[in-house]
């Protein structure tokens, strides 16, 4: 599967995140198409979890809204499968270990393949535990994205050596959410990755403005934005399409 690799060929990649089913699955379906038309290179589809320990308040609340509206993993897969032909960019799923494990890891990855989802991001499954996922991932050709954090230091090379797709560089301590200032030395993190493997590096956690994206893209191959978009969706509900598209467009322009 080369979807992820291709996503980094059109300038620096813009990777928006949305929580599936927030405020409902019909809106998510429209957002997938619209974001891909307005500059998204990969879309991260969040499968909501009741207890998302890596998320800040904005995405926690989105997860709860989605679950409260009756979203399930099966309904998300059905929606993605239906809309996939209309979505031009690559798709990744972001969720926690438990929703995957309890659904059945093998079944989950086969569904990803069936729906044209190229990669999975699982923030509570570090390098040491990736064997819980890797077998099923490779069986169905789903890339398992590795994360590195500001505290990873000596672990970066070990993680990068076995990384697939792209490396997710966590740019802030703590949970997801908008930060005024990004102080992490992203250049150094990326350099350490590239010293052992030629693989794209995308940065996320705290990024929200085109200026921040432009600055970070000096060092990284792509920029991931979640909370800033989820905030727009929370504000506008079902009418979020236009403001989200404007935002995605402005972010991609900053990266070209």
């Amino acid at each position: 599967m080369t979807d992820i690799k291709n996503a980094f060929k059109n300038g620096k990649a813009f990777i928006p995140f949305i929580t599936a089913g927030d405020p409902d699955l019909e809106t998510t379906e429209k957002l997938l198409v619209a974001m891909s038309e307005n500059g998204a290179d990969i879309i991260e589809i969040g499968i909501p979890f009741s207890d998302p320990i890596a998320e800040g308040v904005v995405i926690q609340e989105a997860d709860l809204r989605s679950l409260a509206s009756g979203t399930t993993t099966d309904k998300i897969f059905d929606m993605v499968k239906k809309v996939r032909p209309m979505v031009k960019c690559a798709l990744a799923v972001m969720t926690y270990m438990n929703p995957i494990f309890v659904y059945g890891t093998d079944k989950f990855m086969s569904k990803c393949k069936e729906c044209g989802i190229s990669a999975v991001i699982v923030p509570d499954t570090p390098f040491e535990e990736k064997s819980e996922l890797s077998e099923s991932c490779s069986k169905y050709g789903v890339e398992l994205i590795s994360l590195i954090a500001p505290t990873s230091n000596d672990r970066i090379k070990m993680i990068a050596k076995e990384a697939q797709g792209f490396v997710y560089c966590v740019t802030s301590m703590g949970v997801t959410g908008v930060r005024n200032k990004i102080t992490t030395n992203i250049g150094e993190m990326v350099q350490l990755v590239k010293s052992v493997k030629d693989i794209p590096c995308a940065a996320g956690f705290g990024i929200s403005t085109p200026a921040q994206a432009k600055e970070i893209s000096k060092y990284a191959d792509g920029v991931i934005v979640g909370s800033a978009i989820v905030k727009i969706i929370a504000e506008h509900g079902k009418d979020c399409l236009a403001p989200v598209c404007d935002y995605v467009k402005s972010m991609k322009e900053a990266l070209l």
Binding site: A54, F101, V102, Y103, L147, M173, V175
Partner: protein, 394 residues
Amino acid sequence: MSKGKFGIHGGQFVPETLMNAINEFEEAYNHYKNNPEFVSELNTLMREYAGRPSRLYYAEKMTKDLGGAKIYLKREDLNHTGSHKLNNCLGQCLLAKKMGKTRVIAETGAGQHGVATATVAALLGLECEIFMGKEDTIRQALNVYRMKLLGAKVNAVETGTMTLKDAVNEAMREWTNRVSDTHYVLGSVMGPHPFPTVVRDFQSVIGKEIKAQLMEKEGKLPDVVMACVGGGSNAMGAFYEFIKDKSVKLIGCEAAGLGVNNPKNAATIANGTLGIFHGMKSYFCQNEYGQIAPVYSISAGLDYPGIGPEHANLSDTGRASYVPITDDEAVDAFEYLSRTEGIIPAIESSHAVAHCMKIAPIMDKDKIIVVNLSGRGDKDVAAIARYRGEDIHD
């Protein structure tokens, strides 16, 4: 590569941001656990500050009243701060200090672990912040003020069910935010490796004392050791010494709330399925999509949707058995022990007392049951009065 396994359970399912912190903690623990200076410092605190060894008390009136097995109570309620939680806090905070940490954070359900952490933080001069579900700050208002008196900051967690699970979520989030100067004093035998092992080791003093004390009093091993189980630290502490003594039956008492067939319960072994959450593979109350269930128990300390990985394995292998105890049964036991022995037990520990009341009468008089009385019930008095519909103006 996965570490800290108990059978299929355990592991280290945490964000990458925390991996170096838990590795560092593991290294420090392995370095200090047999270090004579550390061990002597900890033992001195256990003796002089906590008041160990805690008594093993022969509950003669209760034994006669129930008319069967001889009942001993392991009096962890007599520990300083009123529960077994202090054993672990002394160990972990001392370790944190050796590691150069200046701040500790902790989750708490009933407030016992929060109080114990705040206490040791005050003693050792560490900054302290506690995360407690908002619902629990109401149920256990007295403990909230105790923590404040001890100099800790208490954060009322308003996400999810606003109980213990959400307090753990929030403490983990705070740890990822600030790891360099902060140690997370996890209060139970749960979470990512090495916590289940470290907490068990610091609590295993309970079982070691039971064995020695009973040997002195009766010259033999107990037939049954029982304890209440939420995450499972007092039970693991009581059981661990006896795992190799196959004749000793080990029984964990889970919180069944309004009943195992009512959605309002927290009986993980009875109703849970295999999952991966809060850093560990274990059993959890959850739905078919892996969404964690909003559990319930009258006891804030047992109101947790999971169980420590070593307990999950003891259940798998059949070495320990786990029984559900309802709110009603626990409250009856709370009142029974108060009237019969003049000991007011924590509502958590009352779950174990309740099971003892069920099985003691059908056991022979030459058999011995040890109930781990993990905490005292002062904190629960107002809640039990409310449960009984009495207004005590609390």
